[in-house]
């Protein structure tokens, strides 16, 4: 038995089977959710380096598999990442029945996750770009439900993500070439620029983020949330791989200054545009941009604390985006408009979903006592010690999102709030309330999740 078979081939094979039975949505959703949960729990409990006792026999778990001269490797140090990725996918797939996603979401979503895990396992890791691209292509049927034309957001997403792959592959080759043959040192700048460009395409870094708000409006909010939480998680891991592997990149002041500038622009512009939004879906898109900006800012600090903020920030980001996407999907499934000016009936009909939506906006903005605050506050404080103007712009971005939250609050309670018949079903209420409780608990007691998330950095021995 091999970790590659269990965590890559099995989910991929199941996703193919689920695609064949895609019309049985109940079956596909629960199968994908249970399989993801089992894989996450197994990754958490099983030590890859020791024998596994099962049915009175001992089995050795091989951690690598050779394919066509290259290797796929999932070692014990990758367990935290596997728990995170499959835990996240379980979190999203269990929510799928409540979000009422389209029938292609779970089969293609599971296949996409298997490809993303393969991208983290392939050696040399530069070839990860190809697996990421295959994952992106698998996401297209999830984003455009059958029977509807493709919008501009989906096309831009496809273009930008596809253009990222050649940049990463050629940039990675150039970086390798300079390491092997120092006489090619002139390639270093080109390599850095190509890698930067590739990552900018993939992570939707300024100025390549225009597709996010468009996609958020065009596609199902839950599918967009799934995509925009999983894809950046894996791409950021690849970025850390690059930093871990190449001393030149780790020591490049230019790179970290670039990350800081891009992060600040993303946070500031996303927050400011969010302040003027009157559509919850677009607001969700801008919140995703703001979150990516903060992750870049955390990395740009070039310190251990910056890395801790980066890893710790995953948890509130995932919970926040997941809950927000679920709340939007619940509203969409009950034909409640996403426009602020048409929200007068929303609170009366869907009090839990609208309240949770507000809560996630404020958490993403960094309101105290919610999950986002314990990471945002020290991050901004440390950013201030590096550059006061950058910290002020980042703070302005947070303020913009909070302002949008207050505008939404105003829109909800424009009329006298009377709760009549609650339209959310029990499953939706249970998920929304559980998520909201986690959001609040993580804001009040952040220690445990910050400590656990720092395990994500275990596999990067050379970082800082």
């Amino acid at each position: 038995m091999s970790t590659i078979i269990v965590w890559i081939f099995v989910p991929f094979g199941v996703s193919v089977l689920l695609a064949l039975f895609n019309r049985r949505t109940g079956f596909t959703r629960w199968t994908a959710a249970i399989l993801s949960l089992v894989l996450a729990v197994t990754a958490a409990l099983v030590n890859f380096d020791s024998l596994i006792q099962f049915g009175g026999r001992a089995y050795e778990l091989s951690t690598s598999l050779s394919i066509l001269g290259r290797r796929l490797v999932l070692e014990d140090s990758d367990r935290t990442l596997l728990v995170l990725i499959y835990g996240l996918s379980a979190f999203w797939f269990f929510g799928a029945p409540a979000a009422r996603t389209y029938r292609l979401f779970t089969p293609f979503g599971l296949g996409m996750i298997a490809m993303l895990v393969a991208s983290l396992a392939v050696e040399p890791f530069l070839f990860a770009a190809l697996f990421v691209e295959i994952a992106v292509l698998m996401s297209i049927p999830m984003l455009i439900p059958p029977g509807r034309p493709a919008g501009q957001g989906v096309m831009r997403y496809l273009i930008f993500q596809t253009l990222g792959m050649p940049c990463i592959l050629i940039g990675g080759w150039a970086l390798n070439a300079t390491e092997i043959n120092p006489s090619l040192e002139s390639l270093l700048l080109e390599a850095t620029l190509l890698l930067g460009l590739g990552l900018a395409f993939w992570l939707a870094i300024f100025p390549f983020y225009t597709w996010i708000p468009l996609l958020a409006v065009e596609s199902h909010p839950y599918v967009v949330g799934f995509l925009l939480s999983l894809l950046p998680t894996v791409v950021f891991s690849l970025l850390l791989n690059f930093l871990d592997s190449y001393a030149f990149l780790r020591n490049s002041t230019l790179l970290f200054q670039g990350l800081q500038l891009a992060g600040t622009i993303m946070v500031a512009t996303a927050g400011i545009w969010a302040a003027f939004q009157r559509d919850l879906s677009r607001l969700f898109g801008y919140a995703v941009i703001l979150e990516t900006g903060f992750a870049l800012l955390a990395l740009s600090l070039h310190s251990n604390s910056g890395l801790a903020f980066y890893a710790g920030g995953f948890f509130p980001r995932m919970i926040g985006l997941g809950l927000w996407a679920l709340a939007l999907s619940v509203m969409q499934s009950h034909d409640v408009s996403m426009k602020f000016e048409e929200e007068k009936q929303a609170f009366q009909r869907l009090p839990i979903a609208t309240t949770v939506c507000l809560l996630t906006i404020f958490s993403t903005g960094g309101l105290p006592l919610l999950a986002g605050f314990p990471i945002r506050q020290p991050l901004l404080e440390e950013l201030g010690t590096h550059s006061i103007p950058m910290a002020i712009w980042a703070l302005a971005g947070c303020a913009g999102l909070m302002f949008a939250g207050f505008r939404y609050l105003g829109a909800l309670f424009l009329h006298e709030p009377k709760i009549g018949h609650i339209e959310e079903d029990r499953y939706q209420i249970a998920l929304l309330l559980a998520g909201a409780l986690i959001l609040i608990a993580a804001g009040i007691i952040p220690g445990p999740y910050i400590t656990w998330m720092s395990n994500l950095l275990q596999g990067y021995a050379n970082l800082f």
Binding site: I67, M155, W173
Partner: protein, 195 residues
């Protein structure tokens, strides 16, 4: 580096096919142009790789074209924004700028990519023409054909520096996946019922 005999023929094939992909409003001509483009690319890659491995590119490209062809794109290439003749004229003028740019930068790129002048030239022209196509339209078939053009240019460059079988296989997988995604965008089968 010595240029192989008749190395200008695949270059002409690449220029002609990428121009056809840019200006054609008939999907049949576009699919034929895509097939010719992959033929030219295959010809050039045989200068770097063994014939068997290079044939993977040709077969994949033709299969991608076949997948797009069977989805019967109909009028998926017709532009509403550009009037027919002036639109084509404009595209030819912009394409000629790409050719000039490619001829200008190919020699400097040759020091990074150790291959023949026409080879690097072909790769740059394909990347440029593909980007031009992507910048001019958001229609799904045009976007897919533009992405194929860009990727084939990249494949030429990458083949000069990397000859791993796994990478060749994965790039073929990406091409086929792109064709299937394109076919999905074009076919768009039936109305979805939300359960």
């Amino acid at each position: 580096m010595m240029e192989p005999a008749l190395s200008w023929i695949p270059l002409v094939l690449l220029i002609a096919s990428s121009l056809t992909l840019l200006i054609s409003q008939n999907w049949r001509w576009s699919i034929i142009a895509l097939a010719v483009l992959y033929l030219g690319m295959f010809w050039m890659i045989t200068w770097q790789w063994s014939l068997g491995l290079a044939a993977v590119k040709l077969v994949t490209g033709w299969m991608a074209g076949a997948v797009l062809g069977v989805s019967q794109p109909g009028n998926a290439l017709e532009e509403t924004g550009f009037p027919r003749l002036p639109g084509r004229g404009f595209k030819v003028v912009t394409a000629s700028l790409i050719w000039v740019l490619a001829f200008a930068i190919a020699p400097s790129l040759q020091k990074f990519f150790p291959s023949e002048t026409n080879y690097v030239l072909g790769a740059i022209i394909l990347i440029g023409m593909g980007l031009l196509q992507l910048g001019m339209s958001h229609r799904p078939l045009r976007v897919i054909l533009g992405l194929f053009t860009v990727l084939s240019g990249f494949e030429l460059l990458y083949a000069a520096v990397e000859n791993s079988v796994l990478v060749a296989g994965l790039i073929s997988g990406v091409n086929l996946g792109l064709a299937l995604a394109g076919a999905y965008l074009l076919v768009n089968p039936e109305e979805e019922e939300t359960p």
